[in-house]
């Protein structure tokens, strides 16, 4: 496993200076409010390509809100309003040239609760592919197998691809959700506490999977579990009350936080 580049934390503690070409997503001054109630305030950070970035912070601090801003899931919520920009490979995701379904194909997402669709395992993985259309039967089979394999699920389900996805265990369902997201070949994969509903063994499998996937795409992991962030991520952003407190390479953040608030949180002394 390659070490993340040694980067000097900025003095504010909230911006990491790595070369722009190494970043895949850039968030610039993002504020978000739910019907007047502010949930994010002035978040700026850059997400490095082909790395795992973790968002940590106490419950209700806005981790999910930030994550969902990245694939415009807030579009459906009439209450939510935002300011600031989000750039995916240099392009503003809110610009009129960007079609939202295309964006969501490029920025995949796995949710906290396993959410297999009411169809077979195969059809779940093929769901995104069918939306795009134009694939031969063979090609579809190949991609489904590849995605299930990449999500470390192929071995367990290859004999029952036609079985209902709801017959899988929770951990398997979550890996199916990952396979489903991978099948459309996203550039970024957002994971919102993907293991919080799982048992320790399934959690471990998911963590291993996340670590293995970063050679292929950029991952952003929201977790409330600091050990998990320490185990799988290269960079960690600590959020509190809708603000980005500190963003640093994971090793630094956990061993040598530059701010008092971060230290208090990771050592368990919450205000």
């Amino acid at each position: 496993m390659s070490r993340p580049p040694r980067l000097q934390p900025a003095t504010s503690g909230s911006i990491i200076d790595f070369p722009p070409e190494a970043s895949c997503l850039a968030i610039e001054g993002l504020s978000l409010a739910y019907g007047g109630k502010s949930a994010l305030r002035g978040i700026s950070l850059r997400v490095p390509r082909h790395r795992v970035t973790a968002f940590i912070g106490p419950s209700g601090c806005g981790k999910s809100t930030l994550l969902r801003a990245l694939n415009r899931l807030h579009d459906l919520n009439e209450e939510a309003s935002h300011e600031g920009r989000i750039l995916l490979e240099g392009q503003d995701i809110h610009s009129p040239e960007v079609a939202v379904d295309e964006l969501r194909r490029r920025v995949g997402m796995v949710f906290q609760v396993p959410n297999p669709f009411p169809m077979s395992i195969y059809e779940n993985v093929a769901f995104g592919l069918r939306l795009q259309g134009g694939l031969t039967r063979r090609r579809m089979d190949d991609i489904v197998e590849w995605a299930l394999d990449a999500a470390a699920l192929w071995g367990e389900v290859k004999d029952r691809l036609r079985a209902s996805a709801w017959s899988l265990s929770g951990g398997q369902q979550q890996r199916l959700a990952i396979a489903r997201a991978l099948a459309v070949r996203p550039e970024v994969l957002l994971l919102d506490e993907p293991a919080s509903a799982l048992d320790p063994i399934s959690t471990l499998k998911i963590e291993e999977l996340i670590r293995g996937l970063k050679s292929q795409l950029t991952l952003i992991l929201v977790t409330h579990n600091m050990q998990q962030a320490a185990r799988v991520s290269d960079y960690t952003a600590f959020l509190q009350d809708g603000e980005l407190v500190e963003y640093a390479p994971t090793d630094n953040l956990f061993t040598n936080p530059s701010l008092r608030r971060t230290e208090n949180y990771i050592t368990g002394r919450m205000a």
């Binding site: 959410n115 669709f117 009411p118 995104g128 939306l131 709801w166 459309v184």
Partner: protein, 519 residues
């Protein structure tokens, strides 16, 4: 995802638990009692009951089936109601006899019951069977009963053959001639078949059974008027059971006779089921679309809220109001216009401008629309937001999310709506009386004649049949058992329709293991 924990009243909570349990018990008892009553009365009607020969103190003899017994008014003792048949003798078929006036009672095996096309049942003794004008000087009791049976069977064979000829040969030929009056082959063939039918009918005439009431009055009964004959007192329990099953079958499969008081209810069963199916076909797409609009498309503001309340309240509008609406809008409004545009050659006799199957189904679809909307909406609202977001996150549009994920998951809820709709619609009678039900429509709305399904035809309905038989027959006593039997049948038909929908729902749920894990 977890099932909500059921909050239980502990048994020790005293009066409340007992009150709740008591209410359940009372409800179940009432339901069970109701079903038992109509089942016993309804099914008992088909039992070939024994016929009693009663001799009264004054020496008069009557033969009949005892049906009920009531206390005498202002006197000691009971009086008993006998069904004596023989309406053609003295115009009545029921007789109340004070039990104290009965001198002796027997069940002679030679008493026969003839089920006739006119005048209802005959009860009495068989004297002779033969051609018209046969002499009865040497009554031969033993041989005459088998002979009657044989002759009736022969009559039935002739009748069947005639019906087959009429159905398979005569009617198509008539249609050919109608369509093309110059078709000489068809005309000749028609004349030939007509002769055959006449010959068959002639063969059926001319045979009689001479029968005698226990009072000694004789009657020459033409055999082609006799549907069946039996000797209930001579039947073993097994024979009675078989006759009972046969009677039930005839009730289910034949058309009504004798102002609906006897005969079967097949057209009414058919009409009820067809109407309910059509209603479901009409109401489901409308209800589902409306629910989708309210729940998925409309802005969730005050207006949507008001519409939702209005829809819920529509479910409480009395059904007769829907009937009036259907009559005014569908029949007189749309139907009359349709007649003017498409069926003007048939005017002034209306085609769609009068009540019929289509208008009745539409009216009931309107009546049950709120139920389907509410049930579907609740189903849609129960679908976890993660399912929708999961699809959206894969690049699905809102429409794709709806059609590929949300609606398939809402199918069980839609079917719940349809189940409720069927339960409500199948039992409705009042609105139907305005928009298309008929007292007698032996021609069912589906046949081999293009376009096969005749939406403009009037139809019979079990619910209306009950009402009609009970209140508009000329013999209430005779109608009562038919009413019970029809009521039982109506309940069974509704049960069956519901069961079908429930099984369908079960299938859709089980397909994705939702039974094990309600999402």
């Amino acid at each position: 995802m977890k099932r909500r924990a059921v909050r239980r009243l502990p048994r020790s909570e005293g009066p409340w638990a007992w009150l709740a349990a008591g209410s359940v018990a009372v409800s179940l008892l009432m339901l069970g009692g109701l079903l038992l009553l109509i089942a016993v009365r309804g099914l008992g009607h088909f039992w070939p009951a024994s016929v009693a020969l009663v001799t009264l103190d004054d020496g008069r003899a009557i033969a009949g089936r005892a049906t009920r017994e009531l206390p005498l008014v202002g006197q000691e003792g009971n009086e008993r109601l006998y069904f004596t048949g023989n309406r053609d003798f003295d115009g009545h078929v029921w007789e109340w006899i004070p039990v104290s006036a009965i001198a002796s009672q027997q069940r002679p095996v030679d008493l026969v019951v003839l089920e006739r096309r006119r005048y209802g049942d005959f009860i009495g003794r068989l004297v002779a069977v033969g051609p018209v004008g046969l002499s009865v000087d040497h009554p031969d009791q033993e041989a005459v009963w088998p002979r009657l049976q044989a002759r009736l069977q022969a009559q039935q064979a002739l009748r069947d053959e005639r019906d087959r000829l009429v159905r398979d040969t005569l009617r198509p030929l008539v249609q050919r001639v109608d369509a093309n009056p110059g078709d000489h082959d068809a005309r000749e063939a028609l004349a030939e078949v007509n002769d055959k039918v006449r010959a068959l009918q002639a063969g059926m005439h001319g045979e009689v059974a001479i029968v005698e009431s226990v009072g000694g009055r004789r009657l020459e009964q033409p055999l082609d008027e006799v549907l069946r004959a039996w000797r209930p007192n001579a039947m073993s329990p097994v024979e009675k059971l078989m006759a009972w099953a046969q009677n039930v079958w005839r009730f289910l499969s034949e058309g009504p006779r004798d102002v609906n008081a006897t005969g079967g209810v097949w057209p009414a069963i058919f009409g009820t089921v067809l109407m309910v199916l059509l209603m479901s076909l009409l109401v489901t797409p409308f209800g589902v679309l409306a629910a989708v609009y309210l729940n998925e498309v409309a802005h969730q503001g005050r207006m949507t809220h008001l519409v939702r309340i209005a829809v819920r309240n529509l479910a409480g509008v009395p059904s007769i109001v829907y009937g009036v609406f259907g009559l005014g809008v569908f029949v007189y409004g749309i139907g009359s216009s349709l007649d003017e545009w498409f069926f003007s050659d048939a005017l002034p006799s209306p085609t769609f401008g009068t009540g019929g199957l289509l208008w009745a189904s539409l009216t009931l679809a309107l009546l049950t629309l709120p139920v389907v909307i509410v049930a579907t909406e609740e189903g849609l609202a129960r679908i976890p937001v993660e399912q929708r977001e999961g699809a959206l996150a894969l690049g699905a549009t809102r429409l794709e999310t709806l059609t590929r994920v949300v609606l398939p998951m809402a199918v069980p809820a839609m079917l719940t709506g349809v189940i409720l709709a069927v339960a409500r619609a199948a039992g409705e009678v009042a609105p139907l009386m305005l928009v298309g039900v008929a007292k007698l429509a032996p021609q069912v709305p589906v046949d081999g004649e293009f376009p096969y399904l005749h939406l403009e035809r009037k139809f019979m309905h079990l619910g209306y049949h009950i009402y009609d038989t009970a209140f508009h027959g000329n013999d209430v006593q005779a109608a009562m058992p038919v009413v019970y039997a029809t009521a039982l049948l109506l309940v069974l038909v509704i049960l069956l329709l519901n069961l079908t929908a429930i099984l369908l729902r079960h299938y859709f749920r089980a397909r994705h293991g939702v039974l094990a894990r309600q999402p």
